[in-house]
Each structure stands twice: as structure tokens, then as C-alpha cells.
Amino acid sequence: MKMYQLGVLSFFCFIALSQSERLHEQIYSSIEGGAACFRRLNGTHQAGCSSTDKGAVGPVLMIKEINDALWLTQNGTAGPYIAVVSTALFHDIIEEFMNNPTNVAGILVYEDAYQITSAFTHDSKCPNEYSSGPGSTCSSSEPEGFVWNEKGTDLMRRDIPFPMFFLPESRIEEIKKIEECYQRYNLDRNAHSGKPLCSVQLHSFMFAAVDTVVCLRRSASSAILTPTKVCDPLGDQNVYYPLFSRAKENKEAKRPVILVTARIDTASLFDGISPGAASSVVGMVTLLNTAEVLRSMIPMSKTYGTNVIFTLLNGEAFDYIGSQKVAYDISRGAWPPIMPLSPTDIPLHIELGQIGGALLSHRDEESWPLYAFTPNLSNNVDKVSEFVNALSSDLKQYNMSLVMTATDNIPPSSLHSFRRILKNVTESGSLTEILIADHNAQFTNMFYNSALDDYTKIGFDYHNITVGSDGIFLQNDEILAKGIMNATEIQVKISRLATSLARTLYKKITDEEYTGANQASAHLVDEMMYCFLRSQMCRLLLAADYGNSGGTENLPQKPTPLYVGVSAYSLTAPVFAGHMLALFTGMHFPELNRTTCDRIDKSEFSYLYLKGWNNTGVCIQTTMNFSQAISPAFVERDYDYASGFYSTWTESVWQTMWARVFVAASGNGALAAFIAGAVATAIAAFLTFWIQRNAQRIFINAPTGSLVSTDATTGILRTVNC
């Protein structure tokens, strides 16, 4: 019987639940596709946003002009409000909200194609200011001081007292939904109190708080049987590719190595949206193409006295995680793992820094002004100017310019890590450092490390030229002659920069001018940029995917996420970049199948089994490899997190992030229900009481019971206890 009842009950509960879901849907409408601002922590502070455990709730206020924001913070009566603001206006109002946060419950930022956003960058005015090398004069705290990223709001490094969500352009219909609800309920601002109001709830509760020290301690201590983790260190993998295999070199007399670096990662305030076109992708693509074309220029049969290691650094947006690890490992003699370098083995370090910011403003001309920064050292001026002059004169044939600046105030780049950690060699001048960027005094990129730094900001148009199953790309001469692209397009410019850099490196390695015809291909640049900036479902990544992975459908049609992420999970960006390097620079052995490819002795080269151009699988012999990109702070024992020497960034753990819109009650319904309920209950109580007490007098015609029991029978029964 009990089971039966239970069954009935659960059946009804099911019905009740499904009905309640329907009512729930009537009340709430979820805001899909939003990216939340989340919390990161460093050795001394917390940064970013968090909602409360239940989410931040507040009536909507659409911010159409700056006055709306002022009204919200100063005169709003029904607050705290959720401000809905476009990216175009965001920079003008955010300081007002940060300074007067009491009436702000949260912010929903949306991208609107019809409003031009002139700047959107939430990194510091001096990115990675506190990890800068000696001689940096950039100071974000001095009001009139010199800064690199003038529009930077520094929100990524400040503790924001309210949650924030970002809605990309593709989700504009969600904003229309909110706007419609806002027009119906919230338009009359002065009559907000005591009315039902269109409201939004933002939920992005962060588990970690205070700073990295506290959150790591909390993560380590766990309640019985329930391990809790509240934050993870940031980190991923660096990619490096020595031009010649270094495994069989003489330990005592290693060949000197030219280090060519670029960064993989970018960042943004919002989770999952970090396109990084001008911040990092152009530099990374230039490096990949330089490696590809240099490899094709150099005859592998000969041996040369100099080697080149192309390195892609990860986590550079967060106090140079990748380059700090590389420099730290070099100083300990631990990088690369095979045949480690010592600091004196590196005569030259060239960083392809932030290039791409000036591309959009030069989209109608062939020129592209580039700048070479180098530390101000008297004893290696010759070395630097020799290299810069060689590169500059090569670029001149393409109408591009390279201007050298010798200064200790170097833009944010991995040079800072080398200058701090490998101080001996950088100061003595045995390690010469050059940074190539396309800005001079200030960033030309107004979207540095932000969600809006996408392909449109560098003027990238994808040409979608077919690639044959042999993996041969069209040469620049052919592309330009046939008019497939014109010389002002960024693909051509990037390929020319890569060609010039490769020729200059060729000269450094061989001591001869390059006389061949090999050039980097704008066609290849086109494909690479498409993979990183538009869709991972692209020709290159399909060819560079692991040969044993399943179908090709598993790659999402989104830009490759370039945020470094937490070190516990390996993300796709370094793997993509590394595989592309292997694919273009490695030896292909199509005749080997997977098992034999896996079984080859790996002491000198590593072997990767990739899909290849015709998707049948190809075994690739390569010197490309990955190394850990995690801050030395988490490697070194008993590191003092407050010392600020190494990057200490960690990312908070969260459970869910969601946002929804609904109408919040004014309370009139509740009041009506209370009054009616009290009256009804009082009347019912009185009537019941009165009628029961006077039942005999009221029910004078009462029908009597059909069975009249006698006292005798009741007496008998009452002796029985039952």
C-alpha cells in the first residue's frame, strides 16, 4: 500500500513539476550567449568580478548617454540597478560606476554594430607594469605620466564590486528582448518605486577570494572526503621549434642560438571571448610564417654555426608567465629539456611583439610602419643596428619601414622577463634584445587584450582560396599577378614581413645573402588567420589535427580561444600552433602508419602522426616540442607570493554563470493577498466558531443519523482497547 501511495505521489510530483516549469518559463527568460567577467587573484589582491551566491538582481536601466549613468548613481530610487550599456559608451561611464558602486547591482555590456566603439581595453595603462624590466618609465599611477595603453581601464586588475556580463554582436536579439521589457515597465524613471519593474539577474559567483595565498591554502585544505578547490594557477604550454636538431650537439661547445619569440595568448575581462587579433595573432602568424619560409630557404644537408629557436610564449598577458618560465629555466639550465641552453649561448633575442594595431589605419596603402625597440646599451649598438639595418633595407623593397629606438623603456613584451631574470647577460650585452612592434610611443591598438580585438580591428578579409591535397600554397607573385589579393592587404604585408625577417635570419645563420626565390605565402597567412580569428573549422587545422582523432566535425566554428586558461587544463591554441609548425617545417613520411610512427626512436626528433593534407594520416618528423608555461612562483619552493618577482595569477573556480530577465513584483499583489487572506481567515474562523457553538439552535431541521446506537453497545466496546 505504501509503495502504491508513493508511486502515486511521485507521479503527481512529476506533473506538478512539469507545470511549474511552464509557469517558470512564463516568468523568466534566460539571456543566452553572455560572457561573464570572472575573478583572478595575484599574490596580494583579487581582481575581476563576482556576484553574490544567489546572483545580483536589479531593475534594468538602459544607459543611452552619460547622463543616464549619472542619474543612476545619484538619483536612482529603485536601485541598485543593473545598467545595460553598449561598448561604445562603456569607457565613458565605467569610472562613474566604479567610484559610486552603491546603486549599481551589475552591468550588462553589449556590442552594437551601429555604434562605433573607439576604444575598449581593460588591461592596465601600463600592461604588466609590475613585472617590467629595469628602466621602464611607464607608470599607471601618475596622472600625467607616459603610458603605453592610454585607453586602458585596468579593470582586469581591479576588484570590481559588481558582476558584469558581455553580450557579443551575434546576441543582439537578447538586448532587444530586454529593451522591449524596459520600454514597457521602466520608462518612467521618476515613478519607479512601487511599480513592477523589468529586472535582470546576473549570476557569476566566484569561489575564490582575497588573494592567491589564501585561495591556494583553501584549495589545499579539504573537509573530510570532500576536496575543495577554489582557484587554479594560470598557465598552459609554450611551443618551441629549433631550426636544426640540437640533440646530438657537443655539450661543451653548443652552437649559439638566436631566439625568435612571439606570444600566443591574449586576454579579456570576459570568459571565453578573447580573439586577440592585433594583440597577439598577427605576431604569432608572422612567427609561424617566418619559421616556415626560413626552413624552406636553408638546405638541411649542410651544418651551420648558428641555430634558431622559434618560441611561442603563453600566458604573457598575465605578468609574462611563459617568458618568465623560459628565462627562469634557462638560468637554471633546464630549457629546452633536451640539451639545455645556458644564458651565454644566446647572442640574440628577437621578439615579434604587438604588431597589427596599425594595420587598419594603413589598409589603403602598401606601407606598414614598424618599430624596433632595443635596450639602451653602448656595447652592442653595432650588433643591433646591423640586424635592424638588414631587416629595414629588406623591408624597404615592400615600402615598409622599420625605425630603431634604443631605449630602456621597452613596450610590454617578453624582453622584460629576460631583462629581469637573466640580468647578467642582458646588462653585459652578451644577449642582445630586439622587439619589433608596429607602434612607437603608444599602442596603435585601441582594443588591447579585449573582447573586441577581433578580425575586423585589423581589417582581415578571408579569401577562401582552395588548397590542393599536396599542401602547396600559392606564391605571392602569382596571387598579386592574378589579382586574387592586392598589395595593400594585411595577408600580403604579413607574409612580406615574414619573408624579410627570414632573409635577415638566413644571413645571420649562413653569413651569406639569400639569393633564392622562396617567399612566405599570403595564401598561407590567409588560412592561418582564418583558423585563429574566424573559425577553428578550417583547412589548416583539419590537416594539423591528430591523425587518430575522430571526425573533423568536432572543431567548433568559433575563433580559437587564446586566453591562457588554468594550468590544469591544456587548451587548444598552443597545440594548434605547434602542429602547424610541425606540419610546415617537419619531414613528412606518408608511407609510415600510426603504429610504426609511434614506435620510432625519439631521442633526436619527435614524431607526430597528423591527418595531413589529404586526410589519410602522415607521420611527421619534427624538432617542434612543447614546454610548460607556468609561473616559477608555483614551481619554486617557499616562494613569497607577496614579493612580486614572478607572476602569481590564479583564476577562481565557479560553478555556473547565467543571466535572465523578468519582471519583479512591486509588492502590491502580496499586499492584496495579505489583506484578503486575513479578512477571509477571520470571517471563516468567526463563522465556524459561532455555528459550531450554536449548532443545536441553528440546525433545527438537522437530518438525524440513520443508525441510533444505544448506550449499552458503546459501553461494551469501550472496554476494548483498540
Partner: protein, 240 residues
């Protein structure tokens, strides 16, 4: 704000039945048993009607179809409850320590009716109450913020109606008076159909008409139980 809504609506829907329960039923174990049995009977009737609704796939989306069967099954189970009570009346009376039980034949009808009503009310309102906790209320697509209070008021109406319907129904069965039974079934259909007006957001009309039906039914139930207007007025005069 929204927690207030939850408690206010609960008070409106269940305050009056709770007062009636506390004063007339709670002090007698036999009455409690009968009330629980009646509530269980209502559950069974709803189970059956939901099975019918579930089985007839093509008509599932038509609420009217489900409603018709729900009313029919409820009334059938009310009759079943009547048969059961009349059969067990003597036994119940014997084990009861309360000698006054059964002094009015329709007392059991009132108790079982309240059990029926409370259970139907609980079912009608629980899921609505769950959403009244907030933070949102109706209004984004359609509806107003008064949806919750009207739901609670309708629930109260149905609880009281079920109580009075049982009294009239039992009385009708005892006297073989088919008009009384007819009125119960007719008014049950009427009130249930009225709730379809809620779709047009005519909450005020629904509530007003339903409460008119409630008053008529209450008066009728009062008469069935043997009360007259004269006796009611006299009860307020000083006892002789």
C-alpha cells in the same frame, strides 16, 4: 518582497480551511481519519483522470478535455466516499469516544468535503506558490503581477466549494433528491469552465462569478444541514 508574496498567498488560500480544521476537526481522531481518507480519495480521482488524459494522446493539448474527465472522476469519487462513509458510519461511531458524533448526519459530509477541497487546493496552488518565491513575477510575456493573488483566491474558492458540494451531494443521496446532485455537478462544471477565462486574463470576472456560485452553494449547503435564516438570526439573540 517576494517571500511576502509566498506567505500572503498561502494565508489567503489556506487560512480559512486551517481555521475550520482547527476548530471542528482537529479535536476528534475519527474526523481526522475521515478527512485524510477523503483527501486520498481525491488523489485517486485525479490519478485516474490524469491517466485518461495521458492515454488519449490526440486530445492531450486540449485542456477542456482533461477538465471534463477530472470533474467526472471527482464526482464519482465523491459518491464512492458517500457509500464508504454510510457503510462504516456505525463502526466509526462505536470506536469514537465522542458521543456527539453523528448527531448531524451531514457532519461526515462536511469533514470529507474539506478533505477533498484541501487536497485539490494543495494541488492547484503548490507549483504556483513555488514560483511565487521570486525574484520574478509574471509580466514579461503576458500576465500581471496579480496572477499569484488571483490563483490563491481561486484556490480558496475551490476548497470551500468542495466542502459545500459534499454536504449538498450527501444530502441529495440520502434523500434521493436528484436536483441537489445535479446542482453539484452542474456548478462544478460551471466553475471549472469559468477558469478558462483566465486565458484572456479576465481574472476579475472569473473570481467574481466563482464567488457568486460559492455563496449560492454555501447557502444551499446550510439549508441541507438543517439551518434556516431565521435560526441563524435567532442564534445571535440571548439564550432563553
Amino acid at each position: 518582497m517576494t517571500l511576502a508574496e509566498f506567505f500572503s498567498c498561502s494565508l489567503l488560500a489556506f487560512g480559512a480551511p486551517l481555521a475550520m480544521f482547527a476548530m471542528t476537526i482537529a479535536n476528534d481522531p475519527v474526523r481526522i481519519i475521515i478527512m485524510i481518507a477523503a483527501a486520498f480519495c481525491w488523489l485517486l480521482s485525479f490519478l485516474l483522470s490524469s491517466l485518461v488524459w495521458y492515454a488519449v494522446v490526440p486530445l492531450r493539448s486540449y485542456l477542456a478535455f482533461g477538465m471534463v474527465f477530472a470533474v467526472i472522476f471527482q464526482e464519482a469519487f465523491r459518491y464512492g466516499m458517500y457509500r464508504l462513509l454510510r457503510k462504516t458510519e456505525a463502526g466509526l461511531k462505536e470506536i469514537s469516544e465522542n458521543h456527539e458524533i453523528g448527531s448531524n448526519k451531514l457532519e461526515m459530509a462536511y469533514v470529507s468535503g474539506l478533505g477533498f477541497g484541501v487536497m485539490s487546493g494543495a494541488f492547484a496552488l503548490v507549483n504556483v506558490l513555488a514560483d511565487s518565491v521570486g525574484p520574478g513575477t509574471l509580466g514579461l510575456r503576458n500576465g500581471t503581477e496579480y496572477f499569484f493573488v488571483t490563483s490563491a483566491a481561486m484556490t480558496l474558492c475551490m476548497i470551500l466549494l468542495n466542502t459545500f458540494w459534499s454536504v449538498i451531494f450527501f444530502s441529495g443521496c440520502d434523500e434521493n433528491n436528484y436536483y441537489k446532485i445535479g446542482w453539484v455537478i452542474f456548478s462544478h462544471f460551471l466553475v471549472s469552465s469559468l477558469s478558462f477565462l483566465n486565458r484572456q486574463e479576465l481574472y476579475a470576472v472569473t473570481i467574481l462569478l466563482s464567488y457568486i456560485v460559492l455563496i449560492i452553494t454555501a447557502v444551499q449547503a446550510y439549508r441541507c444541514a438543517g439551518g434556516t435564516s431565521k435560526s441563524f438570526i435567532e442564534s445571535f439573540t440571548v439564550r432563553s
